[in-house]
């Protein structure tokens, strides 16, 4: 064999190896399943395709859990991992799923709303593929996903995303972003079908409160807040004032802009009777000028560059060497959801919700979120679902 062909053979082998190893990692990430446990309150486990048939058999189909109380009352829908790179959302949803006992009303939980996005990654930002939450029985492993659905599941992207039905022009990427494709339609792109499925739940079940859990950059003004449209403003404001006074953490209220379409806090309210709330917890991992996007950084939110920016008053939340740990973010979400439920029940006594066994902010910060996850090896197989 000539020298030229020897070189070529070596190069082909190296390329094939890179493809095989890298491809295998991405393939196993995409197909990795996290066991999630249906707690004592779960009365029905179903799929989003139950509410919109078009999703059946696609990677966009996802678990939907019902926790129905003995007494009738209000109905609340909790949507998590709309953006899978904001994982305080799924952790909060699982705290509710694994622990909540509903005495009155109905709690509906979608832990992994954008299922395709949860199986996608962001190699350009050097995202880790997984992260682990320490618990009393070992580590619980989760996939780290991306903001948008995978192009493997929805393709091709348009040059510009024309929002349905308002025809507002949005970035091409937002056609795969389940917080821009609300309220969706049955024959639209896959992610519009996902939001349409959720709208169907809200319309069929007559949901009263819809909560969409997120996280946002510390350099972005809409962070550490509750975003709510006019009709949910009163409950959002009372929630914000109450958690500040009773639990000592800030969570201001941001009005949902009328002119910005496709977002859950806008379209859910406009296209159903539900009161929407979008919760943002500060997520330093999402900021751009930071060190490496490591798992530790994702969990403790500590970054020296952000500390410097904070000293220059460039951040929208207080920030120091203690970072913004995951437990704090999940704790805030738990407390804010419980408080929204309490305020709603006060305002609408005939549609009360009573939910027990969910920790509040201080408890989650003290015990760590892992404390509220149960060991799948010690759980009845019928209560384990794969996400």
């Amino acid at each position: 064999m000539s020298r030229e062909w020897k070189i070529k053979a070596v190069l082909v082998i190296i390329t094939a190896a890179v493809m095989a190893i890298g491809g295998f990692q991405l393939y196993s990430h995409r197909h990795y399943m996290t066991p999630i446990i249906a707690g004592p309150g779960v009365t029905k486990a179903t799929k989003l395709s139950e509410f919109f048939k078009g999703l059946k058999g696609t990677k966009a189909d996802t678990n939907v859990f019902f926790l129905e109380g003995k007494e009738e009352g209000g109905k609340i829908l909790i949507i998590a991992n709309t953006h899978s790179n904001e994982p305080a959302a799924i952790l909060t949803a699982l705290v509710f799923l694994e622990n909540a006992v509903v005495d009155k009303g109905t709690l509906i939980i979608i832990p992994q709303f954008n299922n395709s996005g949860g199986r996608n990654t962001k190699p350009g930002d050097g995202y880790p593929l997984y992260f682990e939450i320490p618990t009393e029985w070992g580590n619980k492993k989760f996939r780290m996903g991306n903001r948008n659905a995978s192009p493997l599941d929805q393709w091709p992207d348009p040059d510009v995303y024309i929002h349905y039905p308002d025809r507002q022009l949005l970035s091409y990427l937002d056609v795969r972003n389940t917080n821009r494709t609300w309220p969706g339609r049955p024959n639209g792109p896959l992610m519009e079908q996902v939001t349409y499925g959720a709208m169907q739940i809200m319309r069929q079940e007559k949901v009263d409160i819809a909560i969409d859990i997120h996280g946002a950059e510390t350099m972005f003004p809409v962070t550490n807040c509750i975003v709510a449209p006019e009709k949910a403003m009163r409950i959002a404001t009372m929630t914000s004032l109450t958690v500040k006074a009773r639990e000592g953490f800030d969570n201001h209220v941001e009005p949902s802009p009328q002119g910005f379409r496709g977002l859950s806090h806008r379209e859910i309210g406009d296209y159903s009777d539900a009161l929407p709330f979008l919760l943002e917890a500060p997520t330093p991992f999402l900021d751009q000028p930071t060190g490496p996007k490591s798992v530790d950084f994702l969990l403790d939110g500590k970054d020296p560059f952000l500390v410097k920016l904070s000293k220059k008053r460039k951040l929208f939340v207080p920030y120091d060497e203690t970072g913004w740990p995951m437990d704090k973010r999940v704790g805030q979400h738990c407390s804010v959801i419980l408080e929204i439920i309490r305020q709603y029940s006060k305002k609408f006594p005939n549609k009360q919700l009573k939910i027990r066994n969910i920790p509040r902010y201080a408890e989650v910060v003290k015990n760590g979120v892992g404390h509220y996850f149960h060991n799948p090896n010690e759980t009845d197989k019928k209560d384990i679902y794969y996400n």
């Binding site: 030229e4 070189i7 070529k8 190069l11 082909v12 390329t15 890179v18 493809m19 491809g23 393939y27």
Partner: protein
């Protein structure tokens, strides 16, 4: 499968052919050989439809 997808796969196969052909024809520049192979990766993955 919509027409646009079929067209896309045809384009992919065509580009793969061109890149392989160029790779074989390249005699000297190792740099160019590496570039041809690198550009091949996503096209091959797409045509194999590994998800």
């Amino acid at each position: 499968m919509p027409v646009i997808m079929i067209t896309y796969y045809v384009i992919c196969v065509y580009l793969i052919g061109m890149l392989v052909w160029n790779f074989i024809r390249e005699k000297k520049s190792v740099n160019d050989m590496i570039l041809y192979l690198t550009v091949l990766i996503p096209l091959i993955l797409r045509v194999f439809r590994i998800k």
